[in-house]
């Protein structure tokens, strides 16, 4: 049976994704100017689109545009001293944003079992990959928890919004972290139990239901990114 055929969107090996993330980190660190970074963000957004993450792609691009606009505004209108301190900070934001954007796409497009098996093929130690996998798995449960917590806050007349955080920061934050912490410790325990009772600690090299292999698309995507990283510097 060919499972790859069922992928509607671009699907690449998790190992390739890690390589892409590395490329982005290096490119962001050595970016010559803002335009170059913006080009990279657009490229990442295209990658997200091809992977079927339309909302993430658009949201990520708009978010970047926002920071880009602020940076431009500061450069043109702010006084020199303000500029110096703000631009250093904003420069960092730009670089982190890039990596975070790429990381977000990778996390949302990678199945846990793919990740575990890919790590296995890289011979990464289980003591590292298992906690990482549990962490990755925990992210979507936060989303579910957040819905419940939002409901609970509204019923107590605490607004779970930006406005709430601005005007009653202590109380709003307390409302978020107290139950979230509680849920997190419970969920991580239960997730760990559910995985050890199904033999996640087995030292045998784990197999994967989804066929993990490098394909032509992997090469293509890497070449695209590398090409931009190198050629983009001369544009």
């Amino acid at each position: 049976m060919n499972r790859q055929a069922s992928h509607k969107w671009l699907w690449i090996d998790p190992r390739t994704k890690i390589l892409l993330l590395l490329i982005c980190v290096i490119a962001a660190a050595m970016a010559p100017n803002l335009t170059y970074e913006m080009g990279l963000v657009l490229l990442i957004a295209c990658f997200a689109l091809a992977s079927g993450k339309v909302r993430l792609a658009i949201g990520g691009a708009i978010g970047y545009a926002f920071f880009y606009a602020i940076s431009m505004f500061v450069m043109v209108y702010a006084s020199e001293t303000l500029q110096a301190s703000l631009l250093a900070f904003l420069g960092l934001v730009h670089k982190i944003y890039l990596c975070g954007f790429m990381g977000g796409i990778i996390i949302s497009t990678t199945k846990i079992s793919e990740f575990l098996s890919a790590m296995n093929k890289l011979h990464a130690p289980k003591s590292l990959t298992i906690p990482l996998a549990i962490m990755l798995r925990y992210i979507p449960t936060i989303q579910e928890d957040w819905h419940f917590i939002k409901d609970a806050m509204r019923l107590r007349d605490v607004s779970p919004s930006l406005e709430g955080i601005l005007f009653r920061p202590a109380m709003t934050l307390e409302c978020i972290y107290a139950p979230l912490l509680m849920a997190a410790s419970k969920a991580s325990d239960e997730l760990s139990i559910a995985s050890v009772t199904r033999g996640i600690e087995n030292p045998l090299s784990r197999t994967c239901y989804v066929d993990i292999r490098f394909h032509f698309t992997d090469v293509l995507v890497v070449v695209c990114f590398l090409a931009y990283v190198v050629i983009g510097r001369f544009l």
């Binding site: 049976m1 069922s6 199945k111 846990i112 079992s113 575990l116 098996s117 996998a133 798995r137 979507p140 449960t141 579910e144 928890d145 419940f148 917590i149 409901d151 609970a152 509204r154 019923l155 107590r156 007349d157 605490v158 109380m171 307390e174 409302c175 107290a178 139950p179 509680m182 849920a183 419970k186 969920a187 239960e190 997730l191 760990s192 139990i193 559910a194 995985s195 050890v196 009772t197 199904r198 033999g199 996640i200 600690e201 087995n202 030292p203 045998l204 090299s205 784990r206 197999t207 994967c208 239901y209 989804v210 066929d211």
Partner: protein, 485 residues
């Protein structure tokens, strides 16, 4: 074969809980019910077999547990996993993957089965358990019952000799319980050994070979199913056990003394992500009524509950309290949702602070009196997290009373509760009704409905199927709503 050789255990840091010495043998192919009150030691018993004790829960262990020639305390978890499969209570957090097929394959992937066999096993599992239609779905769009099936399938695919199920029915509706029963019968035909720790007993009576009754960490008595069925209602309830036969459970037919607020719904439609969840609901209820919201998993009970509390956005139609139309925001001022997982709604650092949390000019006298009334005053300086499940639930109810809420909605308040605690929730809810509150309870628990509710609201297939008061004339209807024949 499972052999307990004088096994006793006490948890580290919590010496009271644990298990007093047990010496027994469970033969291959036996089906054992583990029953008793919450915290009686039945979960500890299962943990001794699947290796979570001592591998995950440290403590003092004496004696040896031997499963098919493995001494559990000396065997690594992954080896035990091949022979002992465990299914847990909360289906939400026992998933490792976000799609169904990968989840079913999770255990056999760990066991490093070759690619071809993985697919064959997953396919076979889906066929055996009749869950082909759940193939290639996202975990997040499944109902509680469907999640439970996938969790079970993942263990089934590993083909263990022994199955341990910890309260498998607590999130299931009546039909899903019937399917669970069929699955257990399938396992029995395959000659598997099954241990089920459970509060709901009725569906297991014609499957089990023996029942182990635990009390305060002691295996007190071993019953045959006949002996268990033969207990009188009084004896059984004294042991803290739920009904062994739902047909024998009788509604209490208590009178409605209407007082307080009235709530009306007029032509209410509810959507979720633009899909119609519930259509054209018309309803009028008064304070003092306890309305059981029943229907299948996924019938819209949660959406309806949230809508009543003013928490659901995609809603049209009118909601009136005492004859005046309410906005969603106004509705939120009048209503309170006691969630299934109460932890989400407890924010403060002590019970006392919790009781007035978020209120601008709190009435400390009222808060004190309410805590007193709900038997929480002696814990007023405790952190809410250190309370038991029932106490947390009462604290949430206390909060609603201090905030002067007239409409209370409980979401599955008795899932996973033993008889004593179920009775306590029923009494609490009756008390709220006497105070003139409108109480809604979304539930699958027939025994609880019999004890607490005086009206039924049956939701299914995007509609309000029927609503009726619980009285002698409607008994047949009530039983039908719960698939009791």
């Amino acid at each position: 074969m499972i052999r307990f050789e004088n096994v006793s255990f006490s948890y580290e840091g919590n010496e009271q809980e644990g298990l007093e010495p047990v010496d027994l043998t469970i033969k291959d192919g036996e089906c054992i019910l583990l029953c008793g009150r919450s915290g009686c030691g039945k979960t500890t018993f299962t943990r001794l077999i699947n290796g979570l004790i001592p591998n995950f829960f440290p403590g003092k262990l004496h004696g040896r547990v031997i499963v098919n020639d493995m001494v559990i305390s000396e065997t690594p978890m992954y080896q035990i996993a091949g022979q002992v499969g465990s299914v847990f209570q909360n289906p939400r957090t026992q998933f490792f993957n976000t799609d169904t097929d990968s989840e079913i394959a999770f255990g056999i992937e760990n066991a490093a089965l070759p690619f071809g066999e993985l697919h064959q096993r997953v396919e076979q599992t889906e066929k055996d358990l009749h869950i082909e239609k759940l193939s290639q779905r996202s975990i997040f769009e499944l109902s509680g019952g469907e999640k439970q099936k996938i969790a079970f399938a993942s263990v089934y695919a590993m083909n263990p000799d022994i199955y341990l199920l910890d309260e498998p029915s607590s999130n299931l509706d009546m039909d899903a319980i019937i399917e669970l029963k069929k699955t257990l019968q399938l396992l029995k035909r395959q000659g598997k050994t099954i241990l089920v720790a459970e509060h709901r007993l009725y569906y297991l009576m014609d499957i089990i070979d023996r029942a182990f009754y635990f009390e305060q960490g002691r295996l007190k008595k071993i019953y045959s199913p006949h002996e268990l069925m033969a207990l009188t209602q009084q004896q059984r309830e004294k042991m803290g056990l739920r009904a062994t036969d739902l047909r024998a459970a009788e509604p209490s037919w208590h009178q409605i003394r209407s007082a307080g607020a009235t709530l009306e719904l007029k032509n209410v439609n509810l959507n979720y992500k633009k899909q119609r969840i519930l259509e054209n609901i018309n309803l009028s209820v008064k304070g003092g009524e306890v309305i059981g919201i029943v229907g299948h998993n996924g019938a819209g009970k949660t959406t309806f509950s949230r809508a009543i509390c003013g928490l659901h956005k995609e809603m049209d139609g009118k909601v009136l309290i005492n004859g005046t139309v309410q906005s969603r925001k106004a509705l939120r001022k009048h209503s309170y949702l006691v969630m299934q997982d109460v932890n989400y709604e407890l924010f403060a650092e002590s019970v006392e602070q919790e009781s007035t949390f978020g209120i601008k000019n709190p009435d400390t006298e009222l808060a004190k009196a309410t805590l007193e009334e709900l038997d929480l005053a002696r814990f007023s300086q405790w952190h809410p997290n250190t309370l038991s499940g029932g106490q947390k639930q009462r604290l949430a109810v206390a909060v609603s009373m201090i905030c002067h809420k007239d409409i209370l909605v409980f979401d599955e308040p008795t899932s996973g509760l033993d008889f004593d605690n179920m009775l306590r929730v029923a009494q609490l809810i009756k008390r709220l009704a006497q105070m003139g509150k409108v109480v809604f309870v979304a539930t699958h628990d027939y025994e609880f409905v019999c004890r607490a509710c005086n009206c039924i609201l049956h939701l299914d297939e995007n509609k309000l199927v029927e609503s009726y008061p619980i009285c002698v004339e409607h008994e047949a209807q009530l039983k039908k709503s719960f698939a009791i024949t």
